[in-house]
Amino acid sequence: MYHSTQTLNDTIVALATPPGTGAIGVIRLSGMDAIRIANTVFHGKDLAQQASHTVHFGTIRNGEQLLDEVLVTLFIAPKSYTGEDVVEVSCHGSTYIIQQVIHLLLQKGARLAQPGEFTLRAFLNGRMDLSQAEAVADLIAAESESAHTVAMQQMRGGFANEIKRLREDLIHFASMIELELDFGEEDVTFANRDDLRQLIMKIRHIIYNLIISFQLGNVIKNGVSTVIAGRPNAGKSTLLNALLNEERAIVSDIAGTTRDTIEEVLNIKGVQFRLIDTAGIREAQDQIEAIGVQKTMEKIQQSALLIYVFDIIKTPPEAVHQDISKLLHPGIQLLVVANKMDLNPYTKWEHYAAAPITQDNFVPISAINQMNIEFLKEKLYEAALSGKTTLESTIVTNARHYAALQGADERLQAVLQGLEQGITGDFLALDIRRALAYLGEITGEVGVEDLLENIFSRFCIGK
């Protein structure tokens, strides 16, 4: 019953070129808000003021963060493929960049297009020549079939089971509420609100893990953004070289991604690390330096892993703690690298012991002598996977699934809020149904029949 509703009054976005790394990726936005949405992330000319069928150079930014330099092509309704306002963003063809740009556009209010939806809109808006219809229809069928195959592949193993279990739990929950609503007059047990709350929290926990694993999925696909920070001359660049030296063969620049954010790529046991070198940090002496420090901080904010490097001779423990407390933010993994241990082999982690430094994240090395670099790599690998689901378990990589999980989570949060406020079952059910619909986008159909089916099989109903 809950087919994902295709509508024409929102703005859709998708990659228009084939997926995978190519020289250029074209991201297409279509809908009445296409230009407005593009304008919120495009830095260059005001797109709202430009004529149809024009191309504009500029940058895509997420706040201050530069994502890419791009060319933007404008098609103003009705003179476009879909008959709606269309903006095509040609960016560099890295999977990472494309994903970032699409995510950004989703954040700004666009919706991920369904398979064939651009063509669908083209047809609905009268842009499609009827003689093309048969061919296009076949294309859509094929497209959704391949999407289906991909989805099925993704559904193998843990993911399918997790979602299936989630859905069953939620259907049970929903049935209990519906039971109260439709059969409240009869001799039925009411849903225990505390149990319901716990059930929802449990479900949210699993969804949370799946969402985290999505980030891990991205880690595997796109690499772990890793910032190397430390005071000037602590040995950051030497460390970078030491890490990369042995792996020269598998190090490569990602075309079009080197500007500003990604410097080098390191592969450890199949996990890619995008290493970002930063300017040295110290107490800012002047305004220009303050800006540099500010930039470093921003990069750290956007990263998953922080390697803090210090010189064991020059930097006393208090200064180390000071630096780290300045750099650290919640959600980032930390490795503390004590460099130049060749100059004092007796350096022990205990000298620096104080949260957040532990034996586990303290790595003494000598970058220049390549000492302990293998150990550091091991630590990097561990850090990338720690706190997240292991590789073998469920990984969500499909952005559509990710969006559905987030939608479900949002609705479940609303249910929890509702429980907190003591709102009645009919309003709780509204959000539960939406959550079920979101999960249904992943598993297939979820209809009210499921709820009634569950009620009839479990409860003695009827006068």
Binding site: D182, D187, G422, L430, V448, F456
Partner: protein, 621 residues
């Protein structure tokens, strides 16, 4: 002997009566044909109208100019608003009716209509020429000509009644079955099926000991169903509640080997949500007792309806077991419970107008479509009656959307999904139930009825306009009027709600949990004075609009999205088997159901979103 009628309605139950009235009120000349004029509008099962989801349907029927609500208001012995502890979408009116008065009132209202004629005889067949119905044939061999026919045969088509090992033909206890129609329809190409339902024993109220039961009184301030000026109840009869026990279950089990349910004699599928007592015991063996509702059949009669004890066990087993129920120790039985099997026609053979795909101007309504319940039947009758008029006058069919009415949900489900067991409405079947409330059925639907030109809706539409304007004025007052901390903080604290620091608009206060309009009226004299000019019902609509504004808006947004697809029409006689891009299942289903719109196509089971995309691409061909 007969003129050519515009509409012949076959059967005078809830569906037939509403169908006759709807067509007649649009101006059609109607003949109501029934096997027995003494049983017009007979409540075959429990003497009650409404209930959760069903009460909303009765309100909708009333809003559309049907008579069920009025008849109920005139003849009820008890009224309760169910689910009051839940949100406003769940509030559901339910009435206990006086069974005899109910049927009498209906008959008198039908007789008062100049456009309705009556004929008492069994209809045994249809006249069909060139794929179009042209009248009916009766048992005496009469042919009555008509431009359209509405079949509302209920449980009468080849009905078989079961009590234990006894079985006999009949459409209702003491009434014979109808034959001929099913056979002819099958010959015409219709697919038929078999369903089963049941009813409990009736007992002598003088033989019951009510002191051993719980009392269930009516509401202190009883409401009603109709939006018109029907009378309000001034006195009410109570119902009672009692329970079965292990002992009762054991006695019933002794008769299981003679039960037609368990020995395979009944083949039709019964409703799971209205199970027989033997079914309850069998399927939920661990449940120690089941609730029974002891309901009066009317003001004056001593007959009592034992709701919850539906059974087709042998009458001696029914009797013995019943006597072990607290309060029933000396019970005398008037009529045993029984099960009945009857023919139905899977409703996927219908259009959303309830006209059959196979025969033009032929309509089905009620249990013949596989539904159960007076309310479900009556609402289909109303829609079929309207559409019979529309069809013979070459007008667009009248179709309610799922977002407009429970009636829309009901018919959309039937036509697109079909049903295997008797279909009953539940609120959970409606995806937009926050919008489909009993308090706003008139606002939702009366304008549609008025636009159709249904007689008697002029005064109703006036009232709707007044109601909407009043609600708007009240909402405006709440948005513009501030309240000072001193005037409200004492009250807020008593409700456990945070006090205010500065003047706050009234609508902000109303939005808080645990705060309702009735309370605010008590503590704010200015508000009380302002609201005195308005009907309580109008103030309630304003309150719901304000208090649940966020939820209502979200539902409305979902509706608006969906409606885009509801407006994309599909060609009526398109051959979907030509579209190779569709899945095989979709091709078959689409050819069978022939959806009117893309929205409808998307709800047919087996039609995937990819199929829908393919359809959209092929539109207009």
């Amino acid at each position: 002997m007969f003129p050519t009628y515009d509409v012949i309605v076959v059967g005078a139950g809830h569906a037939g009566c509403e169908a006759a009235v709807a067509a007649a009120n649009l101006g059609s000349k109607v003949l109501l044909a029934t096997m027995n004029m003494q049983t017009i509008a007979q409540m075959s099962c429990n003497p009650a109208m409404g209930g959760v989801a069903k009460g909303q349907i009765v309100r909708e029927i009333d809003a559309l100019g049907g008579y069920s609500g009025m008849v109920t208001d005139h003849t009820m012995v008890q009224f309760r608003m169910l689910n009051l502890s839940k949100g406003p979408a769940m509030w559901s009116p339910r009435a206990q009716s006086d069974r005899m008065l109910f049927a009498q009132k209906w008959r008198l209202m039908l007789e008062a209509h100049p456009n309705i004629d009556f004929w008492q005889e069994m209809v045994v067949g249809l006249s069909v020429k060139g794929g179009r119905v042209t009248g009916v044939r009766t048992g005496m061999g009469l042919e009555i000509p008509a431009k359209s026919v509405v079949l509302t045969n209920g449980t009468f088509l080849n009905g078989i009644i079961h009590i234990g090992e006894k079985q006999f033909g009949g459409g209702r206890a003491g009434e014979k079955a109808a034959t001929g129609i099913t056979e002819q329809l099958i010959q015409l190409g219709f697919e038929a099926g078999r369903m089963k339902t049941g009813t409990p024993p009736r007992v002598d109220g003088r033989s019951l000991d009510y002191s051993r039961m719980e009392v269930q009184p009516g509401d202190e301030n009883p409401g009603k169903f109709s939006y018109t000026n029907t009378p309000k109840l001034t006195r009410q009869l109570p119902c009672h509640i009692t329970y079965t026990s292990q002992e009762v279950h054991d006695l019933l089990k002794e008769g299981f080997d003679r039960s037609p349910m368990f020995n395979g004699r009944i083949q039709g599928l019964g409703p799971r949500y209205c199970p027989s007592i033997e079914d309850k015991i069998n399927r939920f063996a661990d449940k120690e007792r089941h609730q029974l509702f002891v309901e009066p059949e009317g003001w004056d009669t001593v007959e009592i309806y034992v709701n919850g004890f539906s059974t087709s066990l042998p009458e001696d087993v029914q009797y013995k077991a019943l006597r072990k129920v607290p309060g029933f120790e000396n019970a005398k039985m008037f009529r045993p419970g029984y099960a009945i099997e009857y023919d139905f026609f899977p409703p996927t053979q219908l259009q959303l107008s309830l006209e059959t795909h196979l025969v033009k101007n032929l309509f089905f309504a009620g249990q013949i479509n596989g539904t159960t319940g007076y309310e479900e039947a009556a609402s289909q009758g109303l829609v079929a009656g309207i559409n019979a008029y529309q069809a013979i006058n070459d007008l667009e069919p009248f179709i309610l959307k799922r977002s407009e009415a429970y009636i829309g949900v009901l018919i959309d489900d039937l036509v697109n999904k079909g049903t295997k067991e008797p279909y009953r409405m539940f609120t959970s079947r409606a995806e937009y139930r926050i919008l489909l409330r009993q308090d706003n059925a008139d606002v939702r639907l009366t304008p549609l009825a008025h636009e159709l030109g249904i007689r008697g809706t002029d005064a109703r539409i006036e009232r709707v306009h007044t109601k909407v304007a009043a609600a708007q004025a009240i909402e405006k007052y709440f948005a513009e009027t501030s309240v000072a901390p001193d005037d409200i903080n004492g009250f807020l604290e008593s409700k456990g709600s945070a006090p205010i620091r500065q003047k706050v608009k009234l609508d902000g206060i109303l939005l808080r949990p645990n705060i309702d309009l009735a309370d605010l009226r008590q503590v704010l004299p200015g508000l009380q004075q302002f609201l005195q000019q308005y009907d309580v019902e109008y103030a309630q609509l304003a309150e719901i609009n304000m208090k649940y504004e966020g939820y209502i808006r979200r539902e409305q947004e979902m509706v608006d999205k969906m409606n885009r697809l509801e407006e994309v029409r599909l060609l009526e006689n398109f051959d979907y088997s030509k579209l190779n891009s569709l899945s095989a299942e979709a091709r078959e289903k689409l050819n069978k159901i022939k959806p009117r719109t893309i929205g409808q196509a998307s709800r047919i089971s087996g039609v995937t979103p990819a199929d829908v995309s393919v359809l959209l691409v092929h539109l207009g061909r």
